[in-house]
């Protein structure tokens, strides 16, 4: 058996770490992440508060763990939602072809042309800042990405001889799409989803940083960053911890996605 690519292994370890911590926060955190303790603010790392406390005396480790869970949830829902709609549109475009395909793909181009984060900010501004709106905004910017990937891969599969054989056996386009196209583009879609997962984590952090995502008292890396910003000279470590977490999470999913692509499509790996 060939050894796995390094980027896949490193990515998988980082992702396992982040997801593990997020999962653990469901059942256990060292302290209540939202419990205030004004008297113990700016606490130094200790046996009780492993990384110390913030400006309101909240335990930082507990906050980071809860934020990891929020971040994962947002990214998961956003990528699943945007991915499903995008893949469905891409498959539809590929199956029907003609002006419907052109129409869907030009709409996708339009989505691409618009800066993704700006669009998310616009949505959040129109519908009000909330975690749900952040999820919807991130999901929305994922739609054209997945539509494009799905259509490009599906168009390749449609020319395969087994699709011809299925057509010759009288199968309609829906059945062929379900049984032949979708399973054969799954690898490409999963790779894309992993990469978009990283982008979604970053987008959630950015939106929360701008105050358009998670609202207090919910924990979020982005919000922790923005709160720490004003205290940069007083307690720089408060900005460092969430920033480090974001880097780890984004790097982990990014590397995992790259590694998966290298495994599923060796030709691309050599080209890079």
């Amino acid at each position: 058996m060939k050894s796995l690519p390094a980027n896949f292994v490193i990515g998988a370890v980082l992702v396992a770490l982040v997801v593990g911590v997020a999962g653990l926060s469901l059942i256990w955190t060292p302290h209540d992440p939202t419990a205030l303790n004004i008297r113990g603010k700016f606490g130094d790392p200790s046996a009780v508060n492993w990384l110390g406390t913030d400006q309101l005396g909240r335990d930082i480790v507990s906050q980071l763990m809860a934020a990891a869970r929020n971040s994962m949830t947002v990214a998961l829902v956003a990528v699943l939602l945007g991915g499903s709609i995008g893949v469905a549109l891409g498959l539809l475009a590929s199956a029907i072809g003609g002006w419907i395909e052109d129409g869907v793909m030009r709409l996708a181009d339009l989505g691409f042309a618009f800066p993704a984060l700006l669009f998310a900010i616009m949505l959040a501004a129109v519908f009000g800042p909330s975690l749900t709106n952040a999820v919807l905004a991130i999901a929305f910017i994922n739609i054209p990405i997945f539509a494009r990937v799905a259509r490009a891969s599906a168009n390749q599969i449609w020319t395969r001889e087994y699709v011809l054989a299925a057509r010759a056996a009288g199968m309609n386009k829906f059945t062929i799409t379900r049984d032949h196209i979708l399973p054969n583009i799954a690898a490409a879609v999963i790779v894309q989803a992993t990469i978009e997962f990283a982008v979604a984590i970053l987008a959630e952090a950015a939106l929360s940083y701008l105050g358009l995502g998670a609202q207090p008292p919910a924990s979020s890396w982005g919000r922790m960053l923005s709160e720490a910003q004003t205290l940069m000279y007083l307690a720089p470590e408060l900005a460092f911890y969430p920033g480090f977490c974001i880097v780890i999470a984004v790097l982990g999913f990014g590397l995992l996605g790259d590694g998966l692509r290298d495994i599923t499509d060796p030709r691309l790996a050599r080209a890079r």
């Binding site: 001889e161 009288g170 199968m171 032949h180």
Partner: protein, 320 residues
């Protein structure tokens, strides 16, 4: 009864099929031979209603007297599988690598015959037995990569037979197989045609396979059916210069031709290559490569003459 009358398939680049007529009755075994690009596969596509969207179709195609020209895709979907079926050249790529072969074969039965899962399974087992797949119960659950080329082609034949078609089109079914397996598949197709009274259209450039499999033959060149007749007669006594050239180019291992010095003679070939669609002559499409060519050949399209329906000016004049 399938009947094509004067069917022409026109692309922007030119005509891929020029006025082809073909009549297929139950149990007929018809061979279609010709080089790559001669229109064999386009003829099959017409019979399946699978002509590419970019092509313009004229002439008429009818099934049991019902005109199918311009029929909707949904109508054709019901015709395919239920009445016509097709197997392809490459058994390696004609099966979805991610599906168990049993599921692939069961699918048309579930969709078109409305069979339950277990009924379809039983039918797949029966079909696998009919096409000579040993141990069908365990083969059902296998993926294509677990089967040999010959077995995959048998699976594809089973898929084609799923809904008891009246016509089976085999588009170069043995080209990708080794000689021994090819022979067995050819014999299987003949056997199935006879036992089911199913018409067989056998497309191939393997003249030996066609001779073995079919009773009637149509020779194609450049989108024209240039000669037709009983397989044995056409192969023994070709009339059209193209058929003559095709037969002369067959290597015969029993009698290696030697010249006066006793050294081997080169195998006769037809000079030149099939021109691309846009460069085809307006008249006889074989003009430019033909040994008995006259002035009129390149510009005037020859009409079928004689019992063989040969499209050749020389045959018409009684010269060939």
């Amino acid at each position: 009864m399938f009947e094509m009358v004067d069917v022409t398939v026109r692309f922007n680049a030119g005509e891929a099929l020029r006025g082809a007529s073909l009549r297929i009755a139950p149990g007929d075994r018809i061979g279609i031979v010709g080089e790559s690009g001669s229109g064999k596969s386009m003829l099959a596509a017409c019979l399946m209603g699978m002509v590419p969207d970019a092509a313009k179709l004229s002439g008429s195609l009818s099934i049991d007297g019902t005109d199918m020209t311009g029929a909707a895709e949904a109508t054709w979907q019901a015709i395919r599988a239920r009445r016509t079926a097709m197997i392809f050249q490459e058994p390696m790529s004609a099966l979805n690598p991610l599906r168990r072969v049993g599921d692939t074969v069961a699918e048309p039965m579930r969709v078109h015959l409305g069979l339950s899962k277990s009924d379809a399974r039983n039918r797949v087992i029966a079909l696998f037995e009919e096409v000579g797949i040993p141990d069908p119960v365990s083969r059902l659950r296998m993926f294509p990569h677990e089967l040999s080329g010959g077995q995959r082609q048998r699976v594809l034949i089973a898929l084609a037979l799923a809904c008891d078609p009246e016509l089976l089109i085999a588009d170069e079914p043995t080209t990708a197989l080794d000689a021994n397996v090819a022979l067995k598949i050819t014999d299987l197709l003949v056997h199935l045609s006879q036992s089911r009274n199913m018409a067989l259209v056998f497309i191939s450039h393997d003249l030996a396979a066609v001779a073995r499999a079919t009773t009637d033959i149509a020779v194609m060149y450049g989108g024209d059916i240039v000669e037709r007749g009983l397989t044995a007669e056409v192969l023994a006594d070709p009339v059209h210069p193209y058929t003559q050239g095709l037969l002369a180019a067959r290597p015969d291992p029993q009698a290696i031709p030697r010249d006066a010095n006793g050294s081997r003679r080169r195998l006769p070939t037809i000079p030149g290559t099939v021109p691309p669609l846009y460069a085809m002559a307006q008249g006889c499409r074989f003009s430019g490569r033909c040994s008995v060519e006259r002035e009129e050949c390149a510009s005037v399209k020859p009409m079928p003459v004689g019992p063989r329906h040969a499209t050749c000016h020389a045959v018409k004049r009684g010269e060939a």
